[in-house]
Subunit: 172 residues, 2 copies
């Protein structure tokens, strides 16, 4: 069956700091027209980092959910940046860990209906502890949690962030 | 460390069909102000459904990525709808499978930086094959894929949808 949709028009509703909103008119496979609301986002990298049986996690207030959420270190890609570079940078800034090598675990589309975001999930190799250096307006706590505790947290539904679940389900 | 952010003002930029865009001004833990761009979304349910060693998948054109993507059956919550009801409905509409019972696998936040969406991932129990009945403007193919093939696809990075990865990594 032909499933593809053809763009007829594209219009920006909003261009912002971390996202843009676009509204496109498309032609459906049956020839009818429909509207698609699309979030443009630069994408992000996340890093699974293990050391002495513990995994590096960060806890931060996530405004959309109005609460603190436990995640693996992650950050947005700068324009044109290689996702590996983002991963290595965020691991040191947020987690205080230096690495030269990361390996891709998965490439993830967080919500296929409306966002163009792509999240690259890496595993850090040959890591060395150093110091965190957060941006002036960035607030988070980094914490090392042992693998068995994290496994239990996943089992009990206490980890909710998609990229973190995918990393932990893959690596633990 | 205090990590929380306090809402100062909230303004709607756009109210649409599947999402709204809000721009909030917040007070950071250090007293400074920042802007948060937030997508409001009704949330969704997804269903892992296994029968005779095969898993029910759907293939559809996902406009943000401009290509066909393989996912587990899923759909948006109607306003006020119980996520279990959504899961049972979508399983029959998209997948042609009837069930009375679903069990929660995980509750997922797809992208914690900017969307309020919550995705509930269920496992279908005691399933019976019936018929798909898609909406007039809905185009997708349902397909049963054996577990070993899916495991290989996950390993090779051929499954990219977040909810689908989480379901397959949990259940296979």
């Amino acid at each position: 069956m032909n499933l593809d949709e053809k763009t007829l028009t594209a219009e920006y509703i909003y261009k912002g700091k971390i996202l843009n909103l676009r509204k496109d008119k498309v032609e459906l496979p049956n020839g009818r027209e429909a509207v698609r609301e699309i979030i443009e986002h630069s994408g992000g990298s996340a890093v699974y980092c293990e050391m002495d049986g513990k995994v590096l996690m960060v806890k931060q207030f996530r405004y959309p959910y109005k609460k603190q959420i436990l995640e693996i270190p992650a950050g947005k890609l700068n324009p044109g940046e290689n996702p590996e570079t983002t991963a290595i940078r965020e691991l040191e800034e947020e987690g205080g860990v230096r690495t030269k090598t990361v390996e891709l675990i998965q490439t993830v589309y967080p919500s296929t209906g409306y966002t163009e975001e792509i999240i690259y999930i890496y595993r850090a190799k040959d890591v060395v502890k150093t110091k965190t250096h957060l941006d002036l307006d960035e607030f988070l706590d980094s914490v090392w949690i042992d693998k068995q505790t994290l496994k239990e947290m996943v089992r009990k539904g206490e980890i909710n962030d998609a990229k973190t679940l995918i990393a932990l389900l893959s690596e633990l």
